[in-house]
Amino acid sequence: ALDEVKFGTNWLAEAEHGGFYQAVADGTYEKYGLNVEIIQGGPQAANQALLMADRIQFYMQGNLIGSFSAVEQGIPVVEVAAIFQKDPQVLIAHPDQGIETFEDLAKLPTIFLGKDLYATGFQWMKANFEGFRDEQYKPYTFNPAPFLADKQSAQQGYITSEPFAIETEGGFKPKLFLLADAGFDTYSTMIETKADFLEQNPDIVKRFVEASIIGWYNYLYGDNSAANDLIKQANPEMTDAQIAFTIDKMKEFGLVESGTALEKGIGCMTEERIKGFYDDMVKSGVVKADLDISTVYTTEFVCNGLGMDLKK
């Protein structure tokens, strides 16, 4: 019999989750003996809480700061794979305002940020660049209109989502600055599970990670139409154009494949990068110093080149 497994994403079904849907659609999970149900997230959905309450087995962790927080709070979770090498968070600016570099963003009077990015990325920006200040902050409620109305502003975004909306609705090509490229080098779209689950079912975890990695290769390089159908089914608003745009950006910016992932396969993460990012965050005052973060990840299931042969 197949092992029942629930995986909670952190947003509505979209191409950023493509590999997981791929593995469902083409039977990879099944081949690995798993029956996977994907629980899509939403603006405020509480999938992370569900993981902690053992209502789901895997959760899609957005970035490492979440993991560090878990350590700080004594929550026994473990990151077992990092699908995105780069955090897709961007800062978006108007094209004609003389904003050419990431540093230039400090000149703008207003930056629309979600509360979480304000508490993390922006703190890091203040610590590492000249000129960023709290007065720039205005809340972002997932509506880019205030940004569009104010040319002297920037806003946060997911490189694969807001730029697309701004391009199609606003009618101009905005300037995009990936935080990752500016040095905010957290992993993203990590697969997170509870430590006790990992301890008791290392086999299931292994199979889930490996099947997901295979799914991702197939999604990026194989026939992904079945996966996209699943995505559109779960989220009827999703358009083919948006999916194409997202896949394009994922490739263009190397979200999934860059750094070590190029040599050791999708999902790879390294201790030194995680530690480096941790130190960076400590310096920025985002997380507490002296945490033992070694328990919050394991590289046991990744960096073994699995599925690289599927890449064409």
Binding site: G42, P43, A46, R55, F142, A145, S161, A234, N235, E237
Partner: protein
């Protein structure tokens, strides 16, 4: 000066509600008044739409900031396939939440008005429920409640029940002391005093609470969906709102808001109508003054 009574216009006819006026043709004191009741809101609406359109046109406001009414109408029509089902989902939650809020609110109010101990023990927690932000406790509810649907309802209930509770309590406590004496004298038991005296007496207060709760239940359904709702296919208007937002589909956002508004106004009209019907025979607020 001669004031022939037959010629004199009725100057004192008050009617509790515009909604009622529209629904209860009999109570209209005359043709003109009835026409006024339909014309004025329509006129106001027309005025607003024209001003809005003019503003958008004159200042060339981009549609992704403030779409023109026409554009919203377009979106309403073309996106009906998406918005219609979403509205239905939201409506379902709204009505369930409202019913629960009414039942819960009145039951709690009765308990609190009847028993000092219950009041001292429970009222603070009712207040706490009222002031607890749903977003903050939604995860907890999701953990402990089996289905999303149930979680949604709990969230919506938490938002909507308090006005009913508070108003009904005030109404129950406002019972005429002389009538209370009368009931006591005739040996009415608690239950009888409640059913025959206190509840009818609390009706106007309860109905004022109902009007607040009606709109609040709608908002509650939306908020609950934000906090605990499902996304994707089975989702309600809240999800569509958020989604249109980050897709910058602002015309659709406004179309969804328009649906919410219409629903709200209709709920209000319905609660006002119910209120009028229940009070028209005896309560000052709904009585037509005989002049």
């Amino acid at each position: 000066m001669s004031l022939a009574a037959t010629e004199k216009k009725p100057e004192n006819v008050t009617n509790a509600d515009p909604a009622v006026a529209l629904l209860d043709a009999k109570s209209a004191p005359g043709r003109t008044a009835r026409a006024k009741r339909i014309l004025i809101p329509l006129l106001m609406l027309a005025l607003l739409l024209v001003a809005w359109s003019l503003y958008v046109w004159a200042f060339d406001v981009p549609h992704y900031i403030l779409p023109s009414p026409m554009r919203i109408a377009d979106a309403l029509v073309s996106d009906w396939g998406i918005l219609g089902p979403a509205l239905l989902v939201t409506l379902k939650i709204t009505f369930l939440a409202l019913i629960l809020a009414l039942l819960g609110g009145v039951a709690l109010a009765v308990l609190i008005a009847e028993s000092k101990i219950a009041e001292l023990a429970l009222y603070p927690y009712a207040v706490i429920l009222q002031v607890t932000p749903i977003v903050a406790i939604a995860p907890l509810i999701l953990i402990y409640v089996p289905t999303t649907q149930a979680a949604l309802l709990i969230c919506a209930w938490i938002v909507a029940f308090f006005p009913v509770l508070s108003n009904t309590t005030q109404g129950l406590k406002s019972t005429d002391h002389n009538l209370l004496d009368l009931f006591k004298l005739y040996g009415a038991n608690r239950w009888q005093t409640l059913i025959f005296l206190k509840l009818p007496n609390a009706l106007p207060y309860f109905l004022a609470g109902l009007r607040i709760a009606g709109g609040l239940a709608l908002i509650a359904a939306v908020v609950a969906e934000f906090a605990a709702g499902s996304a994707g296919a089975g989702s309600g208007l809240a999800f569509r709102l958020i989604e249109s937002q980050f897709r910058l589909n602002i015309p659709r956002l406004f179309a969804a808001l328009f649906l919410l508004s219409i629903t709200g106004v209709l709920i209000f009209a319905a609660t006002s109508f119910i209120s009028h019907m229940l009070l028209r025979k005896w309560h000052e607020s709904a009585l037509k003054r005989e002049v």
